[in-house]
């Protein structure tokens, strides 16, 4: 087990290097720092000095990968590639283009993100499992049919409409919850109701339908038939045999997204004005702050790889039949 984890962790290193090279190419080679400076300072009337100063302020004036002017190790370390990319491996994100410390911002903003993402995931899981279990229990009836129709219809609605609809209906017309904003500490709960509710509702369509197929798959297996043949009640079969086995793919599906919860939800956070990492990323994209986008790309990749690793491990824990080798 330990050896497997170590091997998987080592395997993640070349992938991270690949991600890093990709972002480096995208942000510094395809478009030179000079282009970025022009973009930020306005396109037409901009002096070379202004561009130079913009680059020096952000450390973009160095050579890309190899510094001929420096001596010793400086030839490699005194470059943009080393300064901006290699340091990411130590989670040293440096400063954003507007001069703030990215690492500090991230550590501050991940809490509101988690405050939304974790309830959305837990409540969503509970709702989806109960709903799809109900559909599986009534399989083949009108209830099942119309439940699936409802799921497909809900899947066909853009997430944007859930948010806008929820804000207008619950926030504006019924005045049940504040439309947007955030508060520190425990007072934040008021502002969390609406985003969490909408996050859960928008996941029902695809989630429930997917879980329903998982349940139906188990229901047709031999051990379930055996359990019924023994004379067990349908409830007992459903909860003891079907649910338990279907939980394996459900849980491993959850584990893979667990680490990514830190990244927050782009849409929910920006619509509800929650100062989390999702809105941080959107703001950065809209302000064209390349340093932040770069840092978030790297962070997202790390968390995704961590999720894959956790999934493999959780398989062995949840299902003893799976052997890692």
């Amino acid at each position: 087990m330990m050896a497997y984890i170590i091997r998987r962790t080592l395997y993640a290193i070349p992938i991270l290097i690949g991600v890093n090279l990709l972002t480096f190419m995208l942000f510094f080679v395809v478009n030179s720092p000079e282009d970025m400076a022009r973009m930020h300072l306005g396109n037409k009337r901009v002096t070379d000095e202004a561009i130079q100063q913009w680059k020096v302020e952000r450390g973009y004036e160095k050579p890309l990968v190899y510094n001929v002017a420096a001596d010793g190790m400086g030839k490699l370390t005194d470059t943009i590639f080393f300064e901006k990319s290699v340091k990411l491996f130590a989670f040293d994100f440096g400063q954003s283009d507007s001069g703030r410390n990215i690492g500090h911002d991230i550590s501050q903003r991940m809490w509101p993100s988690l405050a939304i993402a974790i309830p959305v995931m837990l409540v969503g899981l509970a709702v989806n499992i109960s709903f799809s279990l109900m559909l599986a229990f009534f399989r083949g009836t009108y209830l099942d049919f119309w439940g699936v129709v409802l799921c497909v219809a809900m899947m066909s609605i853009s997430g944007l409409f859930y948010i806008i609809g929820g804000q207008v209906l619950l926030g504006k017309l019924l005045n049940l919850a504040p439309i947007s904003g955030y508060d520190t500490g425990v007072n934040a709960w008021k502002f969390l109701i609406l985003p969490v509710l909408i996050g859960v509702v928008s996941s029902i369509g695809s989630g429930s339908r997917w879980y329903r197929t998982l349940f139906l798959e188990e229901i047709n297996k031999d051990f379930v038939r055996t359990a019924r043949a023994k004379g067990l009640s349908e409830n007992w079969v459903l909860f003891r045999h079907v649910l338990r086995n279907a939980l394996i793919p459900i849980l491993t599906g959850v584990v893979v997204v667990l680490p990514s919860l830190f990244m927050g939800s782009l849409l929910l956070e920006s619509f509800f004005g929650v100062p989390g990492l999702g809105s941080y990323t959107i703001d950065a994209i809209q302000r064209q702050d390349f340093a932040i986008v770069r840092a978030m790309v790297f962070l997202g990749a790390v968390l995704y790889i961590l999720g894959l690793l956790l999934t493999d491990i959780s398989y062995t824990i949840a299902d003893p039949r799976v052997r890692l080798d």
Binding site: L160, V293, V297
Partner: protein, 462 residues
Amino acid sequence: MPFQPVILATDALIYLLLALVLGFVWYARQHPHLISPWRRVGRSRTAMGALVVIAFYVVIGLLDTLHFRLATGQTEDGKVRYSTEVHSVFDLLATPLRESSEKTYSAPFATHLFTKENIQLPDGRQVREYPRLKYGGAHLDNPHRDRAGDIFRLATLGVLGGAAVFGCLMLIAFRFRAAGLSSWWTDPARGPSRTAAIVLLIMLVLTGMSISLSGGYHILGTDKVGEDVFYQALKSIRTGLVIGTLTTLVMLPAAVLLGIMAGYFRGWVDDVIQYLYTTLSSVPGVLLIAAAVLMMQIYMNNNQDDFNSLTERADTRLLFLCLILGVTSWTGLCRLLRGEALKLRQLEYVQAAQAFGVSHFTVLLRHVLPNVMHIVLIVVVLDFSGLVLAEAVLSYINIGVDPNTNSWGNMINSARLELAREPVVWWSLFAAFIFMFALVLAANLFADVVRDAFDPRLRERT
């Protein structure tokens, strides 16, 4: 010539896609095993109903793809001068809608503007009033009294027109024989075509109503600059379809080639390709798209001379968005194909081909590729609705299509800010919602049937 055809980059790809589809249909007609799963799709009532709805969208999208520039006059040396504006055949058909711009917002079926203005009365006094619209309900003398009756009259005309077209189509389909019609209506095996006919009737009636009503009113209101929202929603169809189809078209060659190569050759080829797609899929999709679109904006800003017109610029951006969405979405298909190819290479006929000394290239082309095509098809159909929805989200974050392009995402994005107004300006959102919902729902329903018909086992893997 009174016009000059223009083929934008996305147009060319749409024609290519169309040619591929027609080519496939022609090829499949001679190979019964290729048609048999489609026959299964044809036996589903849901699929046939959904297909009719999709067909309406596709027709509008295709009409909107035939671009041209109108001739404006002649230069001194006798050459024809063409307008710089690029229009499509659909624009031509919808000219009244396109040109009936109001000043600013107006509600659906309104006869007056949404905001008050200073109006000069004939006797010289000034009052703050809601002014009459230039086009919406302009034919009414007394809008407050006549409007409801007029709307009813136009709607009835539209319904009758739609029903009449439907009746003609049915008469042609049954070659004027009532016996065929009655046996068709009661034959249980013809259920799917009945569903299709009913959906067709509904769609034709709706079309007739909207054509007739939009002659006199803005049936979905107007937006901030007074443009007809119904026209915008119709124009957005092409953008949605382009994103939904071209994205998969541009990613297919890479995904298919790499996927079956990884599974077939195994060894270091497999390692390299797996590494490639794991790396790409570990970058969060939205961020990769954002990064790429930011980069493209910089490129376009610095190379503004490369684009002759706004249309061309917007089109390049649309194509680029398809490309970058394709880059982020090919990994799933690649992984599926790799798994399938791993299984196929163990089968007797592949082993036999290898034993006969057939080259790897031929084995891949003749024996592996045809046997994974059903997966490719299913993924293409399944991805469509997700991509249409993704466009809206990306446009909301400003990393989607060009702000000048009509798209549902842009409609939502611009309408979102007006929700705080009293009374709420809801019609842009409503229009985008209805048009997207109908397309995505139809696509979802159709995709489900296609998946079940081609490979029911795949349900657990996608």
